[in-house]
């Protein structure tokens, strides 16, 4: 049953029946064909390896979400794929673009249909599931311990560990950001604030936001951490000395005092009028339109924010995450790693070459300049042939680069109900922040309900 609702109501009356009646004979042929494929689906992996053994270029299917973002993300990724194919004529890449919120369900559907992509870009929040259920292949085995070590040691140390689970590396970290406080320096000036002194604590954020709200006639600050993914909420909780999941991955802690205090701070921003009760999309649109002072956001949006600022004639700047009193700021990472799903040794080797290229100096030059994600390698940042000149011209990148070097991983929830757990967590957070609910009671109750869904 798929309640897409796309059918006109008349056709939906008895679901499916009118379609079938009108198709008659073709329908039965189709049914027979589908039945045959359904029966044969178990045999697909075996057949695949035989086919790939033939000569000619190996084709690697590649599911990627940057390809599905219109404009900059797609152009940059396609350019990288073309460069790779030029340098590796024996490998063809077959790219599939799927949006970030859909990439796990779609890849899961492809796996169910016996049509798994050979390489998939998946979020760190799904790491546990991608490893244990989608059966991502350990890179230690494919690349060999030395080969993998060589690839990971080129990256910043905190990043190199992000694709690990239970002592093995399954994902090669690819595109990610830390939470960045983007701000509109023009609005700061209009509000009589010093744009060279962005707020560094949440108390200052509130003060500045209220000043912008009252003097510049715009909204103050928006924290885009309450929808879809909890990576940046995890960063806020960590920065207040807490966690959302215990170190041993057994107990949920998003209802404990550090998280509750953080949510109460955020709720106070909304109640005081410093933080508009907008949805995520409306907030981004408001910031791009020059009607919002500050936005805590992933740098994946950096390129489009720069474009909007240039168009609207305002000055876009960036600052690190604000701090809670008495605690160091602990940034988390957003983003994704590249996983090899193919079980075919020949394809695995081709895929590993592709992964190495996609995390090369050449690739990160494109990823950082054109999309806005972080360069994960220190060498590319310092190299005058690659990113060094660009980064010198774009101070916007500095807070992100600094946070990159001391980030703590975005943790994924364990078990088959991990998405439900994340949904309960974020719904409770929204209830507190936007619905004005009691922080301790609401988050505590949610934690209790979600704990029952843990494995």
């Amino acid at each position: 049953m798929s309640p897409t609702g796309d059918n006109p109501p008349g056709l939906a009356l008895a679901p499916g029946v009118p379609h079938i009646v009108s198709r008659r004979v073709p329908a039965i042929l189709l049914a027979a064909a589908l039945f045959a494929t359904a029966c044969g689906s178990n045999a697909v992996p075996a057949a695949e390896s035989v086919k790939a053994a033939g000569s000619g270029p190996v084709t690697i299917s590649f599911a990627d979400y940057n390809l599905a973002t219109a404009g900059l993300g797609a152009d940059g990724t396609n350019a990288m794929i073309q460069d790779f194919e030029k340098a590796n004529p024996d490998i063809k890449i077959d790219p599939v673009g799927i949006t970030a919120t859909e990439i796990l369900p779609k890849v899961q559907a492809m796996v169910v249909a016996g049509n798994a992509p050979d390489v998939a870009q998946e979020g760190f929040g799904d790491l546990d599931y991608v490893v244990n259920d989608l059966r991502a292949q350990p890179l230690d085995t494919i690349a060999g311990a030395q080969g993998l070590q060589a690839a990971l040691s080129a990256m910043y140390p905190p990043v190199a560990k992000l694709g690990q689970l239970n002592g093995k590396t399954y994902g090669l970290p690819y595109t990610l950001s830390t939470p960045i406080l983007f701000y509109n320096a023009s609005l700061f000036q209009q509000a009589g604030l010093d744009p060279t002194q962005p707020p560094s604590t949440w108390a200052q954020v509130k003060q500045d936001a209220l000043a912008i709200h009252s003097k510049a006639g715009a909204s103050g600050v928006y924290i885009d951490c309450a929808y879809y993914f909890d990576w940046c909420w995890q960063g806020i909780v960590l920065s207040n000395g807490g966690r959302v999941l215990s170190q041993d991955r057994k107990t949920l802690e998003f209802g404990d005092p550090p998280a509750v205090q953080a949510a109460a701070m955020w709720q106070d921003l909304v109640k005081s009028g410093a933080h508009p009760p907008l949805s995520e999309n409306d907030a981004i649109a408001a910031f791009e339109g020059g009607k919002l002072g500050m936005l805590l956001e992933t740098s994946a949006l950096q390129a489009s924010l720069l474009t909007a600022a240039a168009k609207g004639g305002w000055d876009l700047r960036a600052a690190p995450m604000p701090a809670f009193p008495g605690h160091p700021v602990v940034p988390t990472n957003s983003g994704s790693a590249l996983f090899i799903l193919s079980g075919n040794p020949q394809k695995q080797q081709a895929a590993w070459r592709f992964l190495q290229f996609m995390t090369s100096e050449q690739a990160y030059t494109i990823i950082t300049e054109q999309i806005g994600y972080l360069p994960l390698r220190p060498d590319v940042v310092a190299d005058p042939n690659y990113l060094q000149p660009w980064i010198a011209q774009h101070p916007l990148m500095q807070p992100n680069l600094q946070q990159l070097q001391r980030l703590q991983p975005w943790v994924s929830f364990p078990g088959p109900n991990y998405v439900q757990i994340k949904n309960i967590e974020l719904a409770a957070l929204q209830q507190v922040v936007f619905g004005g609910a009691d922080p301790a009671g609401t988050l505590g109750a949610a934690q209790k309900r979600a704990q029952a869904l843990m494995p």
Partner: protein
């Protein structure tokens, strides 16, 4: 002549009776086989699978084992707070949609039936238009119009009434009514079409006779027209009750994702989330079975009611 004919008939009849057991006897069944087979394949086989999967924990992956949990999924689904909220919201959607899918279209159909043919055609085509637009496109356009900072609706509210921004889709109070209104707006044309068709079936003679007897226009409408098209009205009411959750689904998916804080989620959206966002086909199937039984009872009740009403009419 007649004797010969009847003799011929018996001569022919004997082999035909024998042949009935052979290929020709199968022919009618062959004719309906495609329909029966595709119904079986597309409707009843998935239905059986749904009942079956409701007893397992599984994420559909061939590499993951299916684990038998008996009625565990049913217990979980019934106990989930989100399901309770989704059921309540579904009820709000149904009740909120009824005026838009029944009362308003009925009024439009009645008021436009006496217009000239061309004017009536143009008028109804205009009303039918929203029905033809893809729901996702509609959702996106309304999303733009309802943007609280600079969207069309809020700009108008501000310019005309001086009202501050209303956070339509991020408000736990407004969001569900916004979705209801858009879904209703989309379905008005369809309902008008059904009522207009029903009205053409009402014989002029009844109305003329009533007019001769001195019945006023509203009396003719209320006592003659409405009872005569009651089966159609009940049909639209039934469609609204059964399908409101489906009609609102694409709007919820595009505009609010069930939020803020589950304020706009409905039973189908929740079910879809279990199945295709949480990869928990067991929960989704258990919820689907409960839904199937619940809506089945409602549909059965409506059908029984419609049959009684239709009987009185004839």
């Amino acid at each position: 002549m007649s004797a010969i004919a009847s003799e011929e008939a018996t001569l022919v009849a004997v082999p035909r009776a024998r042949r009935r057991l052979g290929a020709a006897g199968l022919r009618p069944y062959l004719y309906i086989l495609p329909v029966v087979a595709s119904l079986g394949f597309w409707i009843y086989w998935p239905l059986l699978r749904t009942f079956f999967l409701g007893f397992y924990t599984w994420n559909l992956l061939p590499t993951t084992p299916r684990v038998w949990v008996g009625l565990g999924n049913y217990a979980r689904v019934v106990g989930l707070q989100e399901m309770g909220i989704a059921l309540r919201n579904t009820l709000i959607y149904v009740v909120g949609m009824l005026p838009l899918s029944v009362a308003l279209p009925l009024g439009i159909a009645l008021l436009t039936q006496n217009l000239g043919a061309r004017a009536r055609g143009v008028y109804r085509a205009l009303i039918f238009m929203p029905m033809l637009m893809a729901p996702v496109v509609v959702a996106t356009i309304w999303d733009w119009m309802l943007d609280p900072t600079g969207g069309l609706v809020d700009s108008l509210l501000h310019a005309v009434f001086g009202l501050g921004p209303v956070y339509w889709l991020n408000s736990q109070t407004w969001a569900i009514w916004v979705i209801t209104a858009i879904a209703g707006w989309k379905v008005v044309g369809f309902a008008v079409l059904i009522f207009a068709a029903a009205l053409t079936g009402v014989s002029r003679e009844y109305l003329e006779a009533a007019a001769v007897d001195g019945a006023a226009a509203w009396q003719r409408t209320w006592h003659i027209v409405v009872p005569l098209i009651l089966p159609s009205i009940l049909l639209v009411v039934m469609l609204t009750v059964l399908l409101s959750a489906q009609w609102t689904f694409p709007l919820i998916n595009v505009m609010t994702q069930g939020g803020p804080v589950n304020a706009t989620t409905n039973i189908y959206f929740e079910l879809w989330q279990f199945g295709f966002q949480s990869y928990n086909v067991g929960w989704a199937s258990a919820a689907a079975v409960l839904l199937f039984l619940g809506f089945g009872v409602i549909a059965w009740g409506f059908t029984a009611l419609m049959n009684r009403v239709a009987y009185r009419d004839s």
